[in-house]
Structures are given as C-alpha cells and as structure tokens.
C-alpha cells in the first residue's frame, strides 16, 4: 500500500475515481465518496465507494449499460476496490443527485 501511494503521489483513490469519471463522462454533476468507514475494514482503507453521476453520455442507455460502463472503468483502472455503489442519470431525468439511495447498513463481518 505504501509503494502504491508513493507512485500515485499520495493522490487518494477518491480523487483518482473523480478524475477518471470526469474525463470519460464529462458530467454535469459528480459525487464520489469513500464509504469504507461504514464497513468492517481497517481505518484509511479506500475500498468501498459511492459514485453519483449526471451526464449526457447516459442518454438512451439502459441502467445496466450505464452501470457497466462506470464499473468497467473504475475496476480496471483502480485495483483494490472492493465495492462500488453507482447512481447514474442523464440531465433530462434529474437535476441533482438527491434521489440517490443511501448505503445499505453494514451488518459487520468481513468474511469474503
């Protein structure tokens, strides 16, 4: 983990994900939040993320297609991510991300 962080110049995964999504989808609104503090993992782990994206790139795409594009990008470019919650809309559908679902409650336990 130390070597990885050095290579990445101490950029957090949150920022990396944000940059990737901004470049690919040119969103009108973007939220990227690390949710690992809600899970039973060591402090500072950046393994669970929520991403909310509003972008014209999603026009005409099914929910599955939108999620597949986002998850493919993030999982391929950012190794070590354990879970990704996605909320993807087009500007014609919503004006903000207030209808995004909350994280499900963690019931503890990190058994894989």
């Amino acid at each position: 983990m130390f070597v990885t962080r050095c290579l990445r110049n101490m950029t957090s995964r949150t920022e990396i994900i944000r940059n990737l999504l901004t470049e690919k989808f040119k969103p009108t609104l973007l939220e990227v939040k690390c949710e690992s503090d809600q899970h039973n993992v060591p402090k500072g782990s950046e393994m669970h993320f929520y991403v909310g994206v509003i972008s014209d790139e999603f026009n005409g795409l099914s929910i599955l297609q939108r999620h597949r594009q986002i998850s493919k990008l993030v999982y391929e470019q950012v190794p070590g991510i354990h879970a990704l919650r996605i909320h993807a809309k087009s500007p014609s559908e919503v004006s903000d991300l207030s209808d995004a679902p909350d994280a499900p409650k963690c019931l503890g336990g990190s058994r894989r």
Partner: protein, 78 residues
C-alpha cells in the same frame, strides 16, 4: 462483498413475489470467475433472466421502480 448485498436483493425479489432460484458462487470458483467474464460484470450478486444479466443490486433496485420491469419477472404461483 459478503452476504449483505445478496440478502438485500433476495429481500427485494421476495417483496415483489418473484420466482427465482439461487446459486452460491462462493461454492464454485470456476462459476464465480466464468460469470464475471461472460457478463463483463465484476461483482456479485448478479441476477439473470433467460441467460442474460439483468444487473447487480444497484441496477435491480433502480429497475424495480419501473412497473414494466417488474412485470417481465416471473412470479411465484402461491
């Protein structure tokens, strides 16, 4: 990812009286890896209909808001 997301999706299916069967992908590494490649979908749970991936938990939660999606899911007969 743990059983939490799977419990959630099963709960949603039960609420909508969907007729489904389950397979525990932790029991078979070949299936676990194979399905990820087949559907180009990296995580579990995964819900399939007629051999086609409908999505993971986030997608299904969103789709279930749409009555025409709910309609096309097979229902329990009880």
């Amino acid at each position: 990812m743990g059983p939490r997301f799977s419990r959630t999706i099963v709960g949603l299916l039960d609420e909508n009286k969907v007729d489904y069967w389950t397979f525990d992908i932790l029991e078979d590494a070949e299936v676990r890896q194979g399905l990820k490649e087949y559907s180009e979908w990296p995580t579990y749970p995964q819900l399939y209909l007629d051999g086609e991936l409908l999505g993971g938990l986030d997608v299904i939660k969103e789709e279930l808001k749409n009555p025409s999606f709910v309609e096309k899911l097979p229902k329990r007969q009880d």
